[in-house]
């Protein structure tokens, strides 16, 4: 099944408002879908016998700062059965307070677990209903999101210290 046919089937199943933009670049189609439909569309792409996308290559994110919406989440899919690939994206707005939120797809593809954890810590994003929302690579005590465009490359002593700060009282008692 070629990529245009997959896009047309998505439009016919979920309606024209679910598929917002479809860009063809170098024979690869990037389809931007509505953020709140991501999980339904992913489940459809996995379960439909013509699609059978049983393998999630990766979940990643892009920071489009200072554009709005700021973030896009990218899902690269592959079907081992039909040997075809497909890419969907979801634009995620940064809220006034707190972190941008998008639905987790771990229940559809369990391999999304670590990819979503990495994306969450690097871009400061919340994956709703993620079964294990801990950090993956970064130290537990960091609160910054290094792959955001407004993050300074070298970090700062306050935000990215080498070692966790010990409480003062412990230091003096030794």
């Amino acid at each position: 099944m070629n990529q245009e046919a997959i896009r047309d089937k998505l439009i016919s199943t979920f309606g024209p408002e679910a598929v917002q933009v479809a860009v063809m670049f170098r024979d690869q189609l990037s389809v931007t879908v509505a953020k709140d439909k991501v999980r339904d569309i992913c489940r459809f792409l996995r379960d439909d016998p013509d699609m059978a996308f049983n393998f999630l290559s990766f979940v990643a994110a892009v920071d489009r700062y200072p554009e709005t919406p700021r973030f896009e989440v990218v899902y690269q899919l592959q079907s081992l059965k039909h040997n075809h690939r497909f890419r969907i994206k979801a634009m995620v707005e940064e809220p006034e307070e707190g972190l941008p939120t998008v639905d987790s797809v771990v229940e559809i593809w369990p391999s999304a677990d670590w990819d979503e954890r990495e994306t969450a810590e690097m871009f400061g994003m919340q994956f709703k209903d993620h079964p294990d929302p801990r950090k993956l690579f970064l130290p537990e005590y960091w609160t910054v999101h290094p792959l955001r465009k407004d993050f300074p490359l070298e970090g700062t002593e306050q935000d990215t210290p080498d070692l966790p700060r010990r409480p003062k009282s412990k230091e003096t008692s030794e």
């Binding site: 130290p139 300074p152 490359l153 070298e154 970090g155 080498d162 070692l163 230091e171």
Partner: protein
């Protein structure tokens, strides 16, 4: 050297300090761990082509309690540095540190938020070996420099005490 000649040169007289230093440098056991690509050059130094056993150093100890020398071979990420410091603290005195490669010396090409900008921010480094990675000859030269340094130490009169640098508030 009168007494040696009296005993037909069967004994040698030296200072105790020289002897202690000589025995320390002649069987300096490195800690068997590697952090990045420099570790491969370190392994190459151990095997028969370069043969670290010539200097009494072939016994890479997996336990820090048995080791005298920590060769920090490679990039130290900030996630890794608590473990490296912990291992150093567990080594018994006397102990020495070699910073092997550009990353361990200064952070190298990784001038970013995730990599420690030089292992000497936390550990007292004795010998720095630049290179990316240094060849086994360079590591051997650094080790011989360390041996020369050990021979100059006042191991009896003024024994050194190694401490982790405390950088916290």
């Amino acid at each position: 050297m009168g007494i040696e000649r009296h005993l037909n040169d069967t004994v040698h007289v030296t200072s105790l300090e020289w002897f202690v230093n000589w025995s320390r440098k002649s069987s300096m056991w490195p800690l068997g761990f590697g952090l990045a690509c420099c570790a491969l050059e370190m392994i190459a130094t151990f095997v028969s082509r370069y043969d670290l056993a010539r200097f009494g150093m072939e016994v890479a100890r997996p336990s820090p309690r048995h080791a005298d020398l920590m060769i920090v071979s490679g990039t130290t990420s900030k996630k890794m540095i608590p473990a490296v410091v912990r291992i150093y603290e567990q080594m018994t005195e006397p102990k020495w540190v070699i910073a092997m490669g550009a990353c361990a010396c200064t952070g190298g090409i990784y001038k970013n938020y995730a990599v420690v900008q030089g292992i000497d921010r936390h550990l007292p480094v004795d010998v720095y070996i630049p290179g990316c990675p240094p060849r086994p000859e360079a590591l051997l030269d650094g080790i011989l420099q360390l041996h020369a340094k050990v021979m100059k130490e006042q191991s009896i009169r003024n024994p050194k005490i190694s401490r982790v640098k405390v950088t916290q508030e």
